[in-house]
């Protein structure tokens, strides 16, 4: 199978990556080469084979739902110090609701 230019634009939008027409065209070529490699898989009969999501078949560990961080205000300040834009402990983004 091959992707179309329209599909590249659609996937880029789903991935929230702006892509120009020129970039989409060159990306399309590379993606189709990669998908040609991936297509090898389709010839393999995997009927009845259980998909393997993970190297160790373990159950996810659970933990108590409680706060474990100490000094939360200092932690928040340290993490917000590296944010592009904050105000009064909040992360700022462009207005979403008019």
């Amino acid at each position: 199978m091959s992707l179309t230019l329209e599909q590249v634009h659609r996937v880029a939008h789903l991935a929230r990556i702006e892509i120009s027409d020129a970039e989409a065209a060159s990306t399309l070529g590379h993606l189709n080469e990669i998908f040609a490699l991936i297509e090898e898989m389709q010839a393999v009969d995997t009927l009845g084979i259980e998909p393997m999501a993970h190297a160790q078949d373990l159950a996810q560990r659970l933990r108590a739902d409680r706060v474990t961080e100490s000094d939360q205000l200092a932690q928040r300040a340290a993490f917000q110090a590296i944010a592009p834009e904050t105000e009064a402990g909040l992360y700022l983004v462009p207005k979403v609701i008019e």
Partner: protein, 489 residues
């Protein structure tokens, strides 16, 4: 001193032959001198490193030191280290000073090791040549017109040029073993779950595993002893009793130290696809193992040929999900101009990520999208199971599997940079190990045209100690791993 093993360095520190401050300064001076040719380090912070070295000297003076106390170690820039720029090789994180330490960093701090610097890498660990780094390619110390391998290429180049006694790396599809092979080092990817991924920037979470890059198996054992251990902050960390990974190295042995060891030689590793000069060296290494007492058995891994295809579905799928967090809101790069929230996301990600990272996000988004999930993602996971089953069957016939690490020696910078598929195929011998979650190690096995080649050993789950010993016995009998690039004396 720069040729000392980690054990010998520790003895020199304990006997006050050298202090940690002096040792750290020695390496900082070498970095100043040689790094401009190699671009192996992205960040050095002499004040911070020397401060840690001073603290280590105080510990040593009180007789409190352990095997790594006072030893400077370079860390791949994928590990968050508090107060250090942690870029993951990306413009997206070019301004990210980590507010916390990765588990691996914390464990080295507890051991008294010194952070010598942060090393260059392929962007978000996506690459096999270190050419996808936003901060420029790393040059191979054996030939600076060639790649060091990737994605842990900066760590490999640093250790190979003796700009660090040892380094950390991460391996999602071969990113420790392949650069080890191309730079004449020993590098290990442990069993998935042995080392905590906490604070290690995620690429493909079901495959990513940290590990050591050193000059010998004995050095790697010491590093692994510090790196491994249960961590409740990583949901895939395995809660197993602590072990000494070097416990087999000092056992007395005669002329046949590996008598009784069954080495599996997979047909798929010894067929077409490997450069003849590399294959010749691998076959000579197999002969050396026979001299050491091991017996060899022919085995098959019939689904291995599908590993690259399955990997390039699974790894991008997981990456597309993991890298969704980079949105310009809480940390990292935000585009300067945008007109609304969606536009801010799209522009920040378009400008912050390089082309290989974008390509993999797009592949991952596509294979997980409606209508394609079963045909790609689930099929890849079924093939992953077939590959793991192949290894399980093989380990009923043998104890260790041997083959090449990489199908060629180091290639020229730029040679494969514009051809993603050719680049992906350079990991053909390493990827299956990550898919199955097994431990693997690469060790030097000789030179072709002045360039090093790597031998790969693969073991069953949790056989790191045995793999390290099998590598160590070869290193006692050979001197390949002691060779170093002449230009960096």
């Amino acid at each position: 001193m720069i040729e000392h093993s980690l054990q010998a360095i520790a003895l020199s520190l304990k006997s006050k032959e050298i202090s940690s401050v002096e040792l750290t300064q020695l390496y900082l001076d070498r970095i100043t001198r040689y790094n401009p040719q190699l671009n192996a380090y992205l960040t050095v912070d002499p004040a911070s490193s020397l401060g840690q070295a001073h603290a280590a000297d105080e510990r040593l003076a009180k007789g409190e030191g352990g095997p790594l106390t006072g030893i400077p170690i370079a860390h791949k820039d994928i590990f968050c280290a508090r107060g250090w720029l942690t870029t993951c090789g990306s413009k997206m994180l070019s301004n990210f000073v980590s507010p916390y330490d990765a588990a691996v960093i914390s464990r080295f701090h507890a051991a008294g090791a010194v952070v010598l610097g942060k090393t260059n890498m392929d962007e978000f660990a996506m690459g096999s040549s270190n050419e996808t780094s936003f901060f420029g390619p790393v040059h191979n110390p054996w030939d600076t017109t060639r790649v060091p391998g990737g994605s842990s290429g900066g760590s490999a180049a640093a250790v190979a040029a003796r700009l660090a006694p040892a380094a950390t790396g991460t391996d999602t599809g071969g990113s420790i073993r392949q650069p080890a092979a191309l730079c004449n080092l020993t590098g290990m990817k442990p069993t998935y779950g042995v080392i905590s991924r906490y604070g290690m920037i995620a690429f493909a979470s079901s495959l990513d595993q940290a590990g050591p890059l050193g000059r010998s198996a004995a050095d790697c054992a010491l590093l692994l002893n510090s790196m491994a251990g249960f961590d409740e902050r990583d949901s895939t960390s395995l809660n197993r009793p602590a072990e000494d990974y070097g416990r087999e190295l000092n056992a007395a042995a005669g002329a046949k130290p590996l008598a009784g060891l069954r080495i599996g030689l997979p047909e798929e590793f010894f067929g077409e696809g490997c450069a003849p000069e590399v294959m010749h060296l691998v076959e000579a290494a197999v002969d050396e193992y026979r001299q050491l007492g091991a017996e060899t058995v022919a085995i098959r891994l019939p689904s291995m040929g599908l590993s690259v295809a399955a990997y390039y579905v699974i790894a991008p799928a997981e990456a597309s999900s993991n890298l969704a967090r980079f949105d310009g809101v809480r940390y990292g790069y935000r585009a300067p101009d945008y007109h609304d929230l969606t536009d801010m996301y799209c522009k920040s990600r378009a400008q912050g990520f390089g082309s290989e990272v974008k390509r993999r996000i797009l592949i991952g988004t596509y294979v997980l999208s409606h209508g394609y999930y079963d045909a790609y993602y689930l099929q890849a996971q079924r093939i992953r199971r077939l590959i793991a089953n192949d290894f399980a069957a093989a380990f009923r016939l043998c104890d260790v599997i041997i083959g090449p690490t990489s199908p060629s020696t180091a290639f020229k910078l730029g040679e494969k940079a514009s051809d993603p598929v050719q680049m992906y195929l350079s990991d053909i011998y390493t990827i299956a190990v990550n898919l199955a979650g097994l431990p693997g190690i690469s060790l030097p096995c000789g030179f072709a045209g002045g360039l090093p080649a790597g031998l790969q050993l693969i073991g069953d789950y949790f056989t790191e100690a045995r793999l390290l010993n099998v590598a160590h016995r070869y290193q006692l009998a050979t001197a390949w791993h002691l060779q170093r690039p002449e230009a960096f004396d």
